[in-house]
Symmetry: none
Subunit: 252 residues, 2 copies
């Protein structure tokens, strides 16, 4: 395991702990807020909270694994021989990324058949994207293997981006005027936050950093992306659900 | 205890952790979603969540036991002398497999006497199936003992499959048209995912793998089967309960 500085060690350590707190708080916010929305949007908020719950579990595991992998004595970092289990991120994404797309589809309240078909195609593409990225990430090197799998993973990634912008544009136009801006924003946040992941994945190829620096960039970068894509995105889903619930109650 | 590679160790490790997260998330999903269904289906969702809750507990135990059985230092796996307690799976199935059949029976909303009689015969056959498989699994060898008990266990297994397809076919025809497809799908998912278990059980007899490879195939195979049979199947039960609740509210 490469050596890192005490500064790098504590930056990742604190970022992981920050994210445990953020994900736990976000989960409680979504589930407590669930009682404020109409029945049609309750499942969307249940799933929004599940995403942050699952992420919170994995950040807890990563925090423990990170603490086990190093000892810091008088400011000197030493490796213990235990490996930091970076795969927790992929295990997390395999569950949460399809669910993130499903919460967006649910809050749009499409027809039943559209909901099922979009959930299957977008959720399936998301799972494939994660599975293809995994071998590159665990290969350990900043080399051709990492590059190849990363490139393959971009195919379903670009399909999802295309579907969100072209395939769902008609569905977005059919949303009530008051939430059209929010739904469109949720779509931009998805794409913007998701582009963070391939940028982080490929960053070590272009940045002049050593092993410890690369690890720090990858861990902190993915952490920021996860907070925006899960907790931040979830707040938008919550706002859409609340606003649509209010309008439908007035209309009924 | 046989030696395994670091790749095999972490594959099982990550699969077990993934399943803890999946089962915990599924449990919360079913119990939170319970407020969205009519009173007649609440018990079905309570039990659906119990199945994933019990499985989550056992996956947590298995994860701890797996971590205790090996140490990985600088990529080298060594056995600690502590045994991986594989029986957790059977203890789990003894509780969850009868409950899985009962949740299917409950969501079909048969007459009270049919509900009781089907729960006893199917639940009892499921318990017998698990009890008969156990001596073969713990015998430790890929030999005649494993084969004999596995074969005996197939008798109640085939009785359950027969009952689901022949004994329950009339009850499925009496379901509302809108859920008939889903109920039939739930039956297929049950049989499809359950066939995974005997396939995994007998796989070491036919695959050219050593001890570590056999352990990995068994653990990962059972894990995938558990996710489909418990969390995936539970989502179908949830969808059936929600749809039937909506129709009955409209009809009333």
């Amino acid at each position: 395991m490469e050596t890192i500085t005490a500064g790098q060690y504590y930056l990742v350590y604190n970022a992981l702990s920050f994210t445990i707190a953020t994900m736990a708080a976000a989960t409680l916010f979504f589930w407590i807020g669930r009682s404020q929305v109409a029945p049609a949007y309750k499942t969307a908020l249940t799933i929004t909270g599940l995403v942050t719950f699952i992420a919170g579990y994995h950040y807890f595991r990563m925090f423990e694994s990170w603490s086990d992998a190093y000892t810091v004595t008088n400011g000197v970092v030493e490796v213990t021989g235990a490996r930091f289990v970076a795969e927790y991120r992929y295990v997390d994404w395999l569950l949460t990324v399809p669910l993130l797309l499903i919460e967006l589809i649910l809050v749009m309240r499409l027809t039943r058949s559209e909901t099922v078909s979009k959930s299957i195609t977008l959720g399936g593409a998301a799972a494939l994207m994660i599975v293809l990225g995994y071998p590159g990430e665990v290969s350990g090197g900043i080399d051709g293997t990492r590059f190849l799998w990363g490139a393959l993973s971009m195919i379903p990634f670009l399909y999802i981006v295309y579907t969100l912008f072209v395939g769902l544009s008609k569905a977005i136009e059919s949303q009530p005027a008051s939430v059209r801006g929010l739904v469109s924003l949720a779509r931009y946040v998805t794409v913007f936050s998701w582009f963070f992941y391939p940028i982080v994945y490929f960053a070590p190829f272009v940045l002049p950093v050593d092993g410890g620096g690369a690890t720090t960039i990858i861990e902190v970068g993915y952490t920021i992306a996860d907070i925006v894509a899960k907790a931040g995105f979830g707040v938008l889903i919550f706002l859409i659900a609340v606003r649509k619930s209010e309008e439908e109650t007035v209309a009924a």
